[in-house]
Structure formats: structure tokens, C-alpha cells
């Protein structure tokens, strides 16, 4: 954003308004290495560096902790333990008080931080941390959830049940019935920038913390609680993250709190940056699930009733496992109407790292369960799964039908999945390729192809009602340039750009007149984390509200000064028409300033209509739904289980896009991330609870050469949000991720061909080459029986 851009005072449209494909505001800084992340901030003189000591057992009591050698190591200034926390030794976001900053007496997972070394350099801190001598009395640990009893095993938070109708009876009476179980793996965020905080002590009890966090307000409140000070003493700032994906919603708090405690104790700035392996070991991930299902359906494949249990591996503490389990249940229907349904979550406590938010927040896991149900029914009745999908869709928007109520009793009012799927089927030539693939497979003994088209419906809103609010702060300076700030955080998704486009549109000024600034708790308080895909919906509205307040004052001023009716003051591109004259925006602003008009405003927004009663399992949980569909084709080597993603076609609904280029980027990236989750990204813990996949050498996220050979992605050009969202756009952060489910089902389709689609493959995830080959072997054995 240049300092003195030339403005076109005769332009028909502003540059960079809403619905235009502006480039990411930081793109030129990303490519030149000039974008500053936390670790790139020039450290204040005297900055110290922290390193962590970790539990080496999964469950145990600390019998003794000898840190004398750590303290004596070169460069070490001090070592913090739980006893050094001045306030509350807890960063639990759930109110369960089960997330110690540093373990105190007992450890509950391998890799849990137990002490924090502060030294002159990061190397010294990390090396010193290895010199601790800690003795444990080991206790039995629970690592995996597969064999746990969901009814009796300890849960970290109150589970949820959704219930509509009488599922057990509907299933019992149904002409057909299938029961089954699915294992669904977790996922590491693998943000390229790991967790990091830099704390700079201030006067009295003040501290400023630069933290790579999606939730600056919560980070601020956690720091205050840990230091035993009021929130007004703590400022948290973040210009940008090097990726978040949910992994910095609550998991950023630990580094922030530790850096702040050390900085206040020592009176010197302290930086704590986790090494990649430490980050993967000690911070939470996407929950893995065991999904039980019992389905009743008719001979056509119409689902009559479903009974689900979604058991998840919570890890040692609650963190966000309750709401993640909730959202899995909210999406266990995906785009399908279940006449009778009961769905339960089980939030199983394990001696592993506490799992947390990850793009989709349980929603994708719920949808994987829904698609498994569809697949079971399709195989049972011997039809193409796509037919079964279409047969069970919710009624389309505007229809008079009754098949439109979700398991949580919200009416689906905006269903457009029929049109999306119909268009995609056509564009991707589903039917033609289905025939080609069948012909290919009939003549190919070793290589099999598979095809699947899967839909997505994703609910938009935080189910925690109070999170659906946002604030913004907009200043118009006397020279007509605009400073924009809001509570959302930038993690690459282009949020700041979208909000700036909204502000530019509101004032009708070119985008380069709007300055994007770092998110800070000092400007906008009590913000929600940038999560649940809500960033642009909430903050765009709040910023628009702020801009409109200022605009109204400018209109009042101009009408008064030039003696024209209010309606004759109109904001045109880079200028304002006042009666018969056009005055440059800068000039109107200057005149307003001279007349002592307030040119700054705090904006606010809260989402209307939504409510949710968790104890009843009923409510209008989501403001609206975002839809999409993907069609993927794979080739599978039945000798080794290796596969290639041949082609993917996507059609996705973002309403009226605020920025089509940014939204396409979210869809492409989300799809690949979802496909990675369900294919090569495998988390492996050993029986001692040690994570064996703790770096990119062992944990395999997709590469450029893993993307579909042919990749066609499009936005629905006809949709707009059913509700009055910001410029009728829809959220785009999470909904595209479950488009990756199409890859799992394409693999499943290829696998099923080894026994002529006679047996449901029940291909679990992640579908690594090993899991694909072993499923093929099982099917061959079953078919041969």
C-alpha cells in the first residue's frame, strides 16, 4: 500500500472493492522475504531465549526432578517450574482447569512440558533442557481409543447426544440394516511457522506479547490469569501467522504464557520458539475417531434411521474436545436427511497430547461418518453411491417438502446441493467416466481405477453463541487515508484483505488508501478467535459498521455545510457528490476535520438468529450453510497399494465472493489438506505413548506432486448467501477441506473393484498405501470365501 497513491477522480469503479480478485495484501512481502513473522522481529536488546523440558513417560508421578545441571549449563539464567507461575497454573480453555502450563507433580502424556529453561541463546536453552534428571513413578497409560468402551471410559467433558425421532425403532423395523465401525485418523496442523511468542516486559505489571495466535484476546486473558494481573496489563499483538489451521486457537497460549512469566520475572524480553519436533510432540492435533454406525434403510437405498457413536481421542485434557465432538455430530448428516437419528459423542480421555481445533473442528470427521453410511447402503443395495447420495439429500431450498430438518432440529432453508451436484456431474462427465473406468478395470488385472463424487454441507457459526461477535476500529486521517483494525487474525487466508475491501467499498476509495494493521488487544477488545470460518463474516461486518458510522458523520457534515439534503450526498469512487458538485474524498475529509467532525469509530457486529441449547440438543446452531462438491478419480496399484490422484473437479459455493481469487485459493488448499488427512498423513504413537511421526521426515503432508494431475476448481457463479451476510458472501475457510473425502471414496471405489463391487471395502483412513493394500487383500479373501 503506497504512501501517496494517485487517485482517479473520474473512475467508474474503485480499485479493489468487494467481489474483485485482489492479490494478497502481503504477497509482495511474502515473495521477497520482507513479511515479518514473530521470529523475524528485531529483538529488543537483552532478549533471552527459552527452551522446554518434556515428560518422557506417558503417565506418571514425578518422584524427583533434579535441575541442578540444567541451571549450571552455559548461558542459563533461570529455570521455571510449576512453582514459578505467579498466578494460576492453568490454560484450560474449557473451564475444566485441567491444562497446567507446566506439569505439577503428575504428567499425563509423553512430551508434556515440565520445566522451562531461560538462557542467553536458544541453543543454550535447548541443550540445557536435556540435562535434567527426572524420576517418575510410572502409571498405566491409555494411548489408543479403538478398544475402549465408549460408555464406561472416562471422558474429559460432558458428551452430547442429538436425537430426532426414534432411531432404534426405525432401524429395527427397516427392511435392511447394516452395522459397522470405522477408524478415522487425526492430523497434525503442520503450519510452516511453529508456535512462537516474544514477551517484552513493560512498566508496573504490564507486558506486551507478540504471539503467533489465532485468538489474541484469549491469549491475553490466559497470560493475565497466569501472571495474576488484570487483562488491562497485558497486550497481545499479531501481524500475521505462518499458518494456523486451528492449531493456534488454544495451542498458542502455552508459549505466550511461559514467555510472559519469564519476561516479568527477569525484567528482560524472552522469546520461546518450539522446534518442529517439540511442536508436533507437545501441541494438540485433529482428533482421531472411532465411529460406530447402525443404519436402517429400504431396498431402494433410502435411509430410514441412523444410530451413531462418535468416539474421539481427546487426549489428557478437555481443551476443545467437547465442542469438536459437538461439531462432528452436527455434521454426521452431511447433506442427507435422516428421518430418525440418534448420535452420541464420547470424549475419551487418553494419555496423549490434548487434541484441539483443526480446520473443520470435528465437522469433517462427522461427514466422513455420513459418507461411510452412504457407502454401506450403496453396496448393500448394489447401486452407485452417487445415486444413494442423491436419493437422501435434504430437500432443495424453496421446496415444500418435509425432508429438511437436521438431527439438531434446525430447518435447512438454503439447500443448494442438488444444483451443485448436477452441475458437477455434468462438468466432470461422471457417467461417462464411470463407464470408461468399469471398462478399464474389467481388462486390467493389477491397476484399478476408482471414481467418487462427494458433497459437502458445512454449518457456519460458532456453536458457542458468545463467540459470534466482533469489533473493529477504523480511523480516517485528515489526509483521507484510512487505518483499519479489527479482531480477526491473518494466517494466510486473506482476511485482512477482504476486510480492507469491505472498508474501501464502504468509503468508495481505492483499496490502497486503506492501511492494514496488526491485530492487537489494545485496539479491539474481547475478540473471538479467528476460527469457525467466521473471520470475514464477523469482522467484515464490524468494520463495515465502523465505516458506516464515520460515513454518516461525513454525510451529515456535508449536507449541513453545503446546504443540501442528506440524500444528495453520495459516495462515488474516490469522491463525494454533494448536490451538483463532486469533491475528492480527501477534501471532504479535510473539511470535516477542520469542522471538528469525529473521524474514528469502533464498529461492532453480532450474528443474528442463532441459538443453541446443548442440554436439549436443539437450536438454530448455524446462521447458514456453505455447500460444495468434489469428484475425484484415482489409479491404484493392487500389488503395493500405491496410488495416483488422476483428476479432481470441484464446484464450491461461497455465495457472492468477496474476493474470488482468495476464495479459490482457500478451496484448492483446503481440498489438498483434506486429501492429505485421508491419505498419507498418518500419526503413529507407539505403545509407550511416544509420537513416532514428529517431523516432516516421518509425517507426510502433500507435495506439489500429490495434487491431482488434472485439477479443475470453480465457484458457483449463481449462488448468494440466503441470509444478509457481508455483501452476501459465504465463509470459505473450513468448508472446502471435506471435499478431500472424494479422494478416500475414489480409493475405496478402486479397491472395491477387486471383487466386482460385491463387498463394501470399509476403507479406513488415512488410506496409506499400506491400508489400501491390506484392504484389497481382505476383500479378495472375503470375496473368495
Amino acid at each position: 500500500m503506497g504512501n501517496h497513491p494517485v487517485q482517479d477522480l473520474k473512475a467508474a469503479r474503485i480499485k479493489g472493492g468487494v467481489h474483485t480478485s485482489e492479490r494478497h495484501d502481503s504477497a509482495h512481502k511474502h515473495v521477497s522475504g520482507a513479511a515479518i513473522y514473530i521470529d523475524d522481529i528485531a529483538e529488543p536488546a537483552g532478549t533471552l531465549h527459552a527452551g522446554l523440558g518434556f515428560s518422557t513417560v506417558a503417565h506418571g508421578v514425578i518422584k524427583s526432578m533434579d535441575l541442578s545441571e540444567v541451571r549450571r549449563a552455559p548461558g542459563v539464567v533461570t529455570v521455571l517450574t510449576a512453582q514459578d507461575v505467579p498466578g494460576v497454573n492453568d490454560i484450560s480453555p474449557s473451564g475444566m482447569n485441567d491444562d497446567p502450563i507446566l506439569a505439577d507433580g503428575k504428567v499425563e502424556f509423553h512430551g508434556q512440558p515440565i520445566f522451562c529453561v531461560i538462557a542467553e541463546t536458544r541453543h543454550q536453552a535447548r541443550r540445557a533442557a536435556r540435562l535434567a534428571r527426572v524420576e517418575y513413578e510410572e502409571l498405566p497409560g491409555v494411548i489408543d481409543i479403538w478398544d475402549l468402551d465408549a460408555e464406561s471410559h472416562k471422558q474429559v467433558f460432558t458428551p452430547l447426544t442429538l436425537k430426532r425421532g426414534d432411531a432404534p425403532e426405525a432401524i429395527a423395523k427397516a427392511p435392511r440394516r447394516v452395522k459397522g465401525r470405522m477408524r478415522l485418523g487425526g492430523q497434525d496442523h503442520f503450519y510452516l511457522e511453529g508456535q512462537i511468542s516474544l514477551a517484552v516486559p513493560g512498566e508496573d505489571d504490564e507486558v506486551t506479547v507478540y504471539c503467533s495466535t489465532q485468538g489474541p484476546s484469549e491469549t491475553q486473558h490466559m497470560i493475565a490469569q497466569a501472571l495474576g494481573v488484570a487483562s488491562h496489563a497485558v497486550t497481545v499483538e499479531i501481524r500475521r501467522m505462518g499458518g494456523g489451521f486451528g492449531g493456534k486457537e488454544t495451542q498458542a497460549n502455552q508459549t505466550a504464557v511461559l514467555a510472559a512469566i519469564a519476561a516479568k520475572k527477569l525484567g528482560r524480553p524472552v522469546k520461546l520458539r518450539l522446534d518442529r519436533d517439540e511442536d508436533m510432540m507437545a501441541t494438540g492435533k485433529r482428533h482421531d475417531f472411532a465411529i460406530d454406525y447402525d443404519i436402517g434403510f429400504d431396498d431402494e437405498g433410502r435411509i430410514l434411521g441412523v444410530d451413531y457413536t462418535f468416539a474421539l481421542r481427546a487426549g489428557f485434557s478437555a481443551d476443545l474436545s467437547g465442542p469438536v465432538g459437538d461439531r462432528a455430530l452436527f455434521h454426521c448428516d452431511n447433506t442427507y436427511f435422516f428421518p430418525h437419528v440418534v448420535a452420541k459423542s464420547a470424549l475419551l480421555k487418553t494419555n496423549t497430547v490434548s487434541n484441539t481445533a483443526f480446520r473443520g473442528f470435528g465437522g469433517p470427521q462427522g461427514m466422513v461418518g455420513a459418507e461411510r453410511v452412504i457407502e454401506e447402503v450403496a453396496f448393500a443395495v448394489g447401486k452407485d453411491p452417487l445415486e444413494i447420495r442423491k436419493l437422501n439429500f435434504y430437500d432443495p431450498m424453496g421446496s415444500e417438502g418435509e425432508r429438511n430438518v437436521t438431527p439438531y432440529h434446525q430447518k435447512v432453508e438454503d439447500c443448494i446441493i442438488q444444483q451443485i451436484v448436477a452441475e458437477l456431474e455434468e462438468k466432470a462427465d461422471y457417467a461417462g467416466r464411470r463407464r470408461e473406468i468399469a471398462a478399464f478395470n474389467a481388462n486390467s488385472r493389477y491397476i484399478k481405477r476408482g471414481l467418487a463424487l462427494t458433497p459437502v454441507k458445512f454449518g457456519i457459526s460458532f456453536t458457542k453463541t458468545e463467540s459470534n461477535q466482533a469489533g473493529a476500529l477504523v480511523h480516517v486521517y485528515a489526509d483521507g487515508s484510512v487505518h483499519m483494525n479489527h479482531g480477526g487474525t491473518e494466517m494466510g487466508q486473506g482476511l485482512h484483505l477482504k476486510v480492507a475491501q469491505v472498508v474501501a467499498e464502504e468509503f468508495q476509495i481505492d483499496l490502497d488508501r486503506v492501511r492494514i494493521t496488526a491485530t492487537t488487544t489494545g485496539k479491539v477488545p474481547n475478540t473471538s478467535p479467528t476460527a469457525a470460518s467466521s473471520g470475514a463474516d464477523l469482522n467484515g461486518m464490524a468494520a463495515q459498521n465502523a465505516a458506516r458510522q464515520i460515513k454518516k458523520r461525513l454525510i451529515d457534515f456535508a449536507a449541513d455545510k453545503f446546504g443540501v439534503p442528506h440524500e444528495q450526498v453520495v459516495f462515488l469512487p474516490n469522491r463525494v457528490r454533494v448536490g451538483n458538485q463532486e469533491i475528492p474524498f480527501n477534501e471532504i475529509v479535510r473539511l470535516a476535520y477542520m469542522s471538528r467532525v469525529q473521524l474514528s469509530a469502533a464498529g461492532f457486529y453480532k450474528t443474528p438468529k442463532i441459538h443453541w441449547d446443548r442440554s436439549a440438543g436443539k437450536g438454530h446452531a448455524f446462521y447458514y450453510f456453505a455447500y460444495g462438491a468434489a469428484c475425484s478419480e484415482v489409479s491404484v496399484d493392487t500389488l503395493t497399494g500405491e496410488y495416483v490422484l488422476e483428476r479432481t473437479d470441484i464446484l464450491h459455493d461461497v455465495g457472492r465472493s468477496l474476493n474470488p481469487a482468495i476464495d479459490l485459493g482457500q478451496i484448492e488448499g483446503g481440498f489438498i489438506q483434506g486429501a492429505g488427512w485421508l491419505t498419507t498423513e498418518e500419526l503413529v504413537w507407539d505403545d509407550k505413548g511416544r509420537l513416532r511421526t514428529h517431523g516432516p521426515s516421518t509425517y507426510k503432508i502433500p507435495l506439489a506432486s500429490d495434487r491431482p494431475k488434472i485439477f479443475n476448481v470453480a465457484l458457483t457463479d449463481w449462488s448468494q448467501a440466503y441470509e444478509p451476510t457481508i455483501h452476501r458472501s459465504k465463509a470459505v475457510g473450513e468448508p472446502p477441506l471435506p471435499l478431500g473425502i472424494s479422494v478416500l471414496h475414489a480409493l475405496s471405489d478402486a479397491v472395491a473393484s477387486v471383487c466386482d463391487h460385491k463387498v463394501c471395502p470399509r476403507l479406513d483412513a488415512p488410506a496409506t498405501p499400506e491400508r489400501v493394500l491390506m484392504t484389497i487383500e481382505r476383500l479378495k479373501a472375503e470375496a473368495g470365501r
Binding site: 522475504g33 510452516l192 501467522m241 519436533d277 488448499g669
Partner: protein, 491 residues
């Protein structure tokens, strides 16, 4: 005559000459750039050479030419940079001082989201563009195997990569225009001296020649020998091991020759994968695609075949094919040399037949027989830039429909790279048929009792390994059935 001794490392960093006398043996380039030079465009993503966020270019003189290659600064030691040119993201600019064509293409294609991986992608694409201004998609993907992006799904980066040449002319790039001058400066830095810095626990040596290296290693047999540092780098970043004294041999041109020799190929121990790739592929075609699946481009530019062997890893990708080909190893101590079959070098897990003061000098790889069939198949969770779960190499001669000879070796299936002797025995003298293959598959369990780990289960390793023999059979018999999946037709 002993080489003169210099007490400082000298290299070029972007435009300036850097002279350092306070280098420690485990100082890493990334820390040097970020902490000592405040060049913070280069990022740390993993500190193990797998994500590419720290990618920089290193220019070095190779066969008289100045060659620029991408490397992972996170595992590259400063001590290994003598007479090199390090180029970081801060050095890139366009002809008119604005963004470089690679950078502008990425901006216009929406190729960055969070931006953290982006400088690394820029450098990887820049290195590719220097060599191939109009690369194929297959070539772009190969150049990006060592760069992880978690946001974009890569599609916009691919679009940018295809478009770079429409933003500028690679021939007019600043580094291309300055090449003669830079080369002269690097030649000046190569003064034929041995570099020795530090003492006691902080000691590094950069020998002046192979002779000098041999002498130095006899004098300090406990020294850590570092060629590409793709393994030793992690000893420092992940295990925080003390590695002093270190002998850096990456600059020894004499070890970096690959030549035709005695009905085969002689590979100097310091030859990198990238350097060897075309030479090997021309002579033994199956080795080309294998090399392309070892690490990412940065690792292939640093890592050496000699190092892959010398370290004795059970999952190194080059030993099984080289064993199948009947390769031999030349080990040297001082001026004494001995030559052993490669398969005898691997004694047990983590234990090799290498004496104190001895080093791997070269490996000799015989060509497969003219009437023979040779193939290598690697299985990993992710196709590219992944460590082997199981890798099979087959060198078989069929005469009149009968197996005349067979040398088969696997990686990932035992504590060392290992021959499949029972399988070979089950094949030799038998008709080359599906029945023979099926019978040979039955004896795999005699040769191998693999482990279960995070890469694969024992059961899968054994089953997939058996099936690779069938794949090899299909490949040799020219079946019309498709039997291999390909992303692209192999070049």
C-alpha cells in the same frame, strides 16, 4: 608438502565477501543468516532438511563452472561454505529493481497465502528457471519436492512456475550477468590452503585436497567426516550431539568425479545425487527415477552417494541397487586402499566395515549384463521426498526362458541393506514364469523378518516386497497389462 593453513572461512554472501575466523564446527548457515546477519527472509520450518522454508542458493565451482544449487540452510554447516557463493531471498531483484520475475509470477498467480514457505519456493523456482526457463510440469514438481506448502495446495505455485519466463529473460538475470565476475572471485578464494579453526571441543578442518583429508583423518580418526551434511546436520539440530572435530570434505573436487571405468561406473564418494543423476540414468536407466525419489532437490544437491553408503543406514536408497549390481567399495586410510564388495561393508545395524582413520573413497558399479534385466522399486507412504518403507532391486538374466543369474537386494527389510539369497536360489535355474515367481515369493520370509515402525508394518513390508518380484516379472515379460502407476511417463 603439507598445505598452508588458513584460520578463517571465506565465502561470498549475496554481494559481499565474508571472512569468518570464529566459526564453530556445528554452526549452521540458517542461524548465521538469521542471527548474525539479520537476514530473516530465510525461515526455519523443520530444521531437518524436509520442508524447504530455509532454501537458499549455494554457488560452487564444479568442473570449472560456477553452478548454483538449492540447499537447506538449516542443515548446512557454515564450515562447509569455503569458496562458495550464498544467495538468499534478500538478494533477488528484477531488472528494474522491482520484484524478480519469479517473485512477480508468484504474486500475480496468488502463489502465497501465509507466506512463510514462500521465500523457499522462490529460491527453488529460481534455481530451476536458471537452468530451464520453460520447464515441464514434471520438472517443476521435481524441483519442488523439497518445498512444503500447507496453504495453497500448490496449484497457484505451479501456475506461477509455468509463467516465469513471461516476466523476464533468464539470460538477463543479475546472477547470470555477474557470473564471470563471481566465478573469478570464487577462484580467488580458492587458495589451496587447508582451513583449520578452533581447538579442543570446537575444531573444524577443511582439507586442501584428498591427500590432505587422508592425512587429517589418520591424525584425527575420531573426527566426524561431513560431505553433504544431510544426516550429520540433524545430529546437531535434533540430537544436539557434539560433533567436533569435523572434517568438511564437500569442497574436494577430486572426490566429485563420476567416470566410466572397467565396464562400469566409478563414483567418487563426494558426488552428489544431483551430479550423478544424468550420468547414471544414461548408463543404467532404472537409477534415474530412483535418484529422483531420494529426498527433495535440496537434499539431492547436498547429499552424496558416498555418504549414503558410508553411514550404513538400513533405509539408504542407493545400497540395494548397487549391491544387486555387484558394486564394490574402495576404502582408504592414509595412502592404503582396499577394495571390498559393497554387500560386505554392512556388518550389522549401525556397524560397518570401516576402520578408524579410513574413509570411503569411491564405489565401482558394474553395468548390468547386456542380456540382463535390472529394475529398482521404492515403496514409501508418500511417493516423493519420503524415506523408504521397502525398496527392492533386481538384477536378473534370463536365457532361453530360464533364470540364468539373479542378484536381488532390499532396503527397509532388515537391519542392513541385504541380499535376498533364498529368493535368488528359488529363481536360478527355473523357468521365468508366474509359477516360479509364486514359488520364490514363498521364501521371502526366510530372507527377511522386517520390523513394524511408523513407516510400515512388518506384514505390509513383506507382502509388498513379494509383490515387487511379480512387478519385476511383468516388466521383464512385456505384458500388455498395465502394471505400474505413473504420474508422468518416465523420461
Amino acid at each position: 608438502m603439507a598445505a598452508p593453513i588458513r584460520r578463517e572461512i571465506r565465502f561470498l554472501l549475496n554481494g559481499e565477501t565474508v571472512t569468518l575466523s570464529d566459526v564453530r564446527p556445528d554452526d549452521l548457515l540458517l542461524d548465521f543468516l538469521r542471527l548474525r546477519r539479520s537476514l530473516r527472509g530465510t525461515k526455519e520450518g523443520c530444521a531437518e532438511g524436509d520442508c524447504g522454508a530455509c532454501t537458499v542458493l549455494v554457488g560452487r565451482l564444479l568442473d570449472g563452472e560456477l553452478v548454483y544449487e538449492t540447499v537447506n540452510a538449516c542443515i548446512r554447516f557454515v564450515g562447509s561454505l569455503d569458496a562458495c557463493h550464498v544467495v538468499t531471498i534478500e538478494h533477488l531483484r528484477g531488472e528494474n529493481g522491482g520484484l524478480h520475475p519469479v517473485q512477480q509470477a508468484l504474486v500475480d498467480s496468488h502463489g502465497s497465502q501465509c507466506g512463510f514457505c514462500t521465500p523457499g519456493f522462490v529460491l527453488s523456482l529460481y534455481a530451476l528457471w536458471m537452468r530451464e526457463p520453460n520447464p515441464s510440469d514434471a520438472r517443476i514438481e521435481k524441483a519442488l519436492q523439497g518445498n512444503l506448502c500447507r496453504c495453497t495446495g500448490y496449484e497457484p505455485i505451479m501456475r506461477a512456475a509455468r509463467a516465469i519466463s513471461s516476466y523476464g529473460d533468464a539470460g538477463r538475470d543479475p546472477l547470470a550477468l555477474e557470473r564471470a565476475d563471481l566465478k573469478a572471485r570464487l577462484i580467488d578464494l580458492k587458495d589451496g590452503a587447508r582451513v583449520e579453526i578452533g581447538s579442543g571441543k570446537d575444531r573444524l578442518i577443511v582439507p586442501a585436497s584428498v591427500e590432505d583429508f587422508a592425512d587429517a583423518l589418520v591424525a584425527e580418526p575420531q573426527a566426524t567426516v561431513v560431505a553433504g551434511s544431510t544426516d550429520v546436520g540433524l545430529w546437531v539440530t535434533k540430537q544436539m550431539r557434539d560433533i567436533s572435530p569435523v572434517i568438511f570434505i564437500g569442497g574436494l573436487a577430486e572426490l566429485q568425479t563420476i567416470t566410466d571405468h572397467e565396464n562400469g561406473i566409478r563414483i567418487g564418494a563426494g558426488v552428489s545425487y544431483s551430479q550423478a543423476r544424468e550420468f547414471l540414468a544414461q548408463r543404467i536407466p532404472a537409477l534415474g527415477p530412483l535418484v529422483d525419489r531420494i529426498g527433495g532437490e535440496q537434499v539431492r544437491n547436498m547429499g552424496t552417494i558416498g555418504g549414503n553408503i558410508a553411514n550404513g543406514s538400513p533405509i539408504g536408497d542407493t545400497p540395494p541397487p548397487l549391491i544387486a549390481l555387484g558394486a564394490s567399495l574402495t576404502l582408504r586410510r592414509g595412502n592404503d586402499r582396499r577394495c571390498i564388495p559393497l554387500e560386505d561393508y554392512f556388518l550389522a545395524y549401525g556397524k560397518q566395515d570401516r576402520q578408524p582413520g579410513e574413509f570411503v573413497e569411491s564405489v565401482h558399479v558394474p553395468y548390468p549384463a547386456e542380456d540382463g534385466h535390472f529394475a529398482v522399486y521404492k515403496i514409501s507412504k508418500r511417493r516423493d521426498e519420503d524415506i523408504t518403507a521397502a525398496l527392492g532391486a533386481f538384477n536378473v538374466q534370463i536365457r532361453d526362458g530360464v533364470v540364468a543369474s539373479a542378484r536381488i537386494a532390499y532396503g527397509g527389510m532388515a537391519a542392513t541393506p541385504k541380499r535376498a539369497k533364498a529368493v535368488e536360489e528359488a529363481l536360478i535355474g527355473k523357468p521365468w514364469s508366474e509359477e516360479t515367481v509364486a514359488a520364490a515369493q514363498e521364501v521371502y520370509a526366510i530372507d527377511y523378518q522386517p520390523l513394524t515402525d511408523m513407516r510400515a508394518s512388518a506384514q505390509y513390508r513383506l507382502l509388498a516386497s513379494k509383490n515387487l518380484l511379480l512387478r519385476f516379472y511383468l516388466e521383464t515379460t512385456g505384458t500388455s497389462q498395465p502394471f505400474k502407476i505413473k504420474r508422468y511417463e518416465e523420461a
